[in-house]
């Protein structure tokens, strides 16, 4: 006797378990943060939902942040989980205007990981930290049973000092401000997907994983009127701009022809039915700057190798508040929604 199944036709069961899509950076992540974390842990710092918390210690403003890294595979074209764990946290500090100084390092290692691989990762991590000008000052290591984690999970927390007069927040954005992205988007997301699914692109698609603190320092030193900065990681450029638009309660208008995407990323994405605007970046910064200073900031960013393809991609507007709208190459308008789940390759 075959089972008779009654279909529940109403709204699908609200997530009773944590799903991978809760970590994708889009709406599900947002809901999780608000309904579980903010609810239980909430305080003024967390409620700001910034990349780093800004804490006043006597006369100094300290930026303090944390991030965990669980990427698989742990070695990928363009980097590895070690390099990523330094760059990600350094960037979270740098976009707040902080000079990144010290990192802590927490490792959860799966029993059975070859020491040689761990050594390679720490070599990469150490090198990246030195290049970025930060020091790992405290650490912890735990080893768990085989199967309890996927090879290695890394947590880094970081602190940096913010110059006293610097105040970067989405709430400082005004209509007319320009939006700059420091380079082509989607590289990290497609590189990880290809590596994980063994899609052998040749040459392999490489992550853009890098530290942005020197570039950002250069931008801030121009004296330009910077309103805020973000690094568009999980969820991609579109998701991060949606967050900015919502937090500022203003609209953002993008111009499709100005969006930088590498041809090979475009090609791979179109083959897999993916949109580069929703794929993660680990070496890019979005800068919102007053219109009058936009050109100057663009020129400064382009001086850096990692910023040579920077582009002014759009502007802040008082139309369609909290929404991101893109003007296509044909002159039509398209709403860019926030990512809902995680980007999946499509055939249909």
């Amino acid at each position: 006797m075959q089972p008779v199944i009654i279909m529940r036709g109403v709204k699908l069961l609200a997530d009773e378990r944590i799903l991978l899509s809760h970590g994708a950076g889009g709406l599900k992540t947002q809901r999780l943060i608000r309904e579980v974390f903010q609810k239980n842990l909430g305080n003024a710092y967390l409620q700001q939902e910034l990349d780093s918390a800004l804490i006043k210690f006597s006369s100094h403003k300290i930026a303090f942040t944390t991030d965990s890294y669980v990427v698989s595979p742990i070695f990928f074209p363009g980097g590895d989980i070690g390099k990523l764990s330094v760059c990600g946290t350094v960037n979270d500090l740098a976009v707040m205007g902080a000079k990144p100084l010290y990192l802590t390092l927490g490792l959860i290692i799966e029993e059975g990981l070859p020491v040689e691989e761990l050594d390679k990762l720490m070599f990469s991590l150490g090198n990246t930290a030195r290049e970025a000008g930060v020091q790992i000052v405290a650490g912890d290591t735990k080893v768990v049973e085989h199967g309890a984690c996927d090879k290695i999970f890394i947590n880094t927390s970081g602190i940096g000092i913010v110059p006293p007069n610097l105040d970067l927040r989405p709430q400082k954005m005004v209509p007319g401000d320009k939006i700059i992205v420091s380079g082509p988007v989607g590289n990290h997301g497609i590189a990880i997907l290809a590596a994980r699914e063994s899609l052998d692109f040749s040459p392999p698609l490489a992550s853009d994983c890098t530290y942005l603190n020197y570039l950002i320092d250069g931008v801030l030193n121009t004296g330009a009127s910077i309103k805020c900065m973000r690094d568009p990681t999980r969820g991609g450029l579109a998701t991060t701009l949606n967050e900015l638009a919502q937090q500022a309660n203003l609209g953002i208008k993008l111009h499709e022809e100005a969006l930088p995407v590498q041809p090979q990323v475009k090609g791979a994405c179109s083959m897999l039915g993916l949109d580069p605007l929703y794929l993660a970046n680990e070496g890019k910064v979005i800068i919102v700057v007053a219109n009058k200073d936009a050109r100057q900031v663009l020129e400064e960013i382009r001086k850096y190798d990692i910023g040579k393809n920077a582009s002014i991609i759009g502007e802040v507007t008082d139309a369609h508040c909290s929404k991101v709208v893109m003007e296509t190459e044909l002159g039509t308008l398209r709403v860019l929604r926030m990512l809902e789940g995680d980007p999946l390759p499509r055939i249909c």
Partner: protein, 363 residues
């Protein structure tokens, strides 16, 4: 060179050629056209008298609930690895979606090509690899080749849940349904690379509708709409091939042959449209060892659908629009989809949800 870029000026010129002022309803049959139209904001460029309606060419959207439930049963089996295109991962079933089953420990893997599923079977002899064979005629030949690969190399721990469907029977069903008033069809360019243009000829001949086989660039779609508009203006109904660079009149003979070798048509159930004669494919009896439903004894799975307010059926037939559904963007969103038109990113509802709004946003 093979991506044909259209600039704003050429768009204006192309649109000027659309002189027809009567109210024209054009159905884009293929989900990829729905996406392309939504992404490019084509509806914003067209004169108000031209209406574009999405059709049933979304394989995920029209997959019967019975098939979804069977897949979920298979996913729960410890010895089974489900291999699938990404599109199927979030389709809701009574116990969740495949993605949710993954969270509960089911082994579900996304593959880019059906051949990857056969390779997985080869490398995991102790497991049963089940591939979710969904798609229209563009995809079916690739699955047929995967079966050929399994067959020729003796891979017997590989099977498919065969949900392939055919476009022509669906078009016949649509046209004989009095409720759907469609003047012209934007025909699926990629399906046509396989089946050619001749199978569509019954449409102008028996039903006097305009037909254009269209490519997927915004320029292709606009030009195809122009061709349809002209056909209607001159009452000159025919099957025109706008996608000449990709579609040959005779299609792809090798693809048609291998499809025929492994599959045979049968009356299949289309979600929202009911049973359509000869509209689905199933494995020929001599290849039944590759049919996962038979292999695992799930032929008699029954499903009763509780009413939910979902009107995907009417949306697939082009009778109603996503915005006319009471659940659209309130109870039914891509994060919490009620019906399949919202789950598949090329479903009419998902396309409308993600990309629309451009029409109402002022400059």
């Amino acid at each position: 060179m093979l991506k044909l870029k259209l600039n704003k000026i050429t768009v204006k010129k192309l649109l000027k050629g659309i002189n027809n002022e009567s109210h024209i309803r054009i159905m884009e049959v293929c989900g990829t056209h729905t996406m392309a139209i939504a992404k490019a904001g084509i509806k914003q460029l067209l004169p108000a008298n031209i209406e574009l309606i999405s059709g049933p060419g979304c394989p995920v959207c029209v997959t019967a609930q019975e098939d979804i439930e069977r897949i979920l049963i298979l996913a729960k089996k410890r010895e089974v690895i489900i291999t699938t295109f990404g599109d199927m991962l979030r389709v809701p079933g009574s116990t969740g979606s495949l993605q949710e089953m993954q969270a509960q420990g089911a082994d579900v893997r996304i593959v880019y090509s059906p051949l990857d599923a056969v390779n997985l079977a080869r490398n995991n002899p102790e497991k049963e690899i089940v591939f979710l064979a969904v798609g229209f005629e563009t995809t079916t030949p690739t699955v047929a080749f995967a079966l050929e690969d399994a067959h020729k190399t003796g891979v017997d721990n590989f099977s498919i849940v065969c949900m392939h469907k055919l476009v022509i029977p669906a078009l016949k069903a649509l046209l004989s349904d009095q409720e759907t008033e469609i003047h012209g069809f934007l025909l699926p360019g990629h399906v046509s690379t396989i089946i050619g243009t001749i199978p569509y000829e019954f449409i102008p001949r028996e039903y006097q509708r305009a037909c254009v086989v269209s490519g997927f660039e915004p320029g292709d779609i606009l030009e195809s709409i122009l061709f349809i508009s002209r056909q209607l203006e001159n009452a000159d109904y025919k099957v025109e091939n706008q996608y000449k660079r990709g579609v040959k009149t005779e299609g792809n003979k090798i693809a048609l042959e291998i499809m025929d070798k492994y599959f045979t048509p049968f009356n299949s159930l289309w979600r929202g449209m009911g049973e359509i004669k000869d509209s689905g494919l199933r494995l020929r009896p001599e290849y039944v060892q590759y049919d996962a439903i038979f292999k695992f004894g799930l032929q008699d799975t029954l499903v009763q659908l509780a009413p939910s307010g979902c009107i995907c059926g009417n949306i697939l037939k082009g009778i109603l629009k996503p915005e006319e559904c009471a659940l659209f963007s309130k109870m039914c969103t891509p994060a919490f989809p009620v019906g399949p038109c919202m789950v598949s990113s090329e479903g009419a509802c998902a396309a409308s949800y993600y990309y629309a709004g451009g029409e109402v946003i002022g400059r």
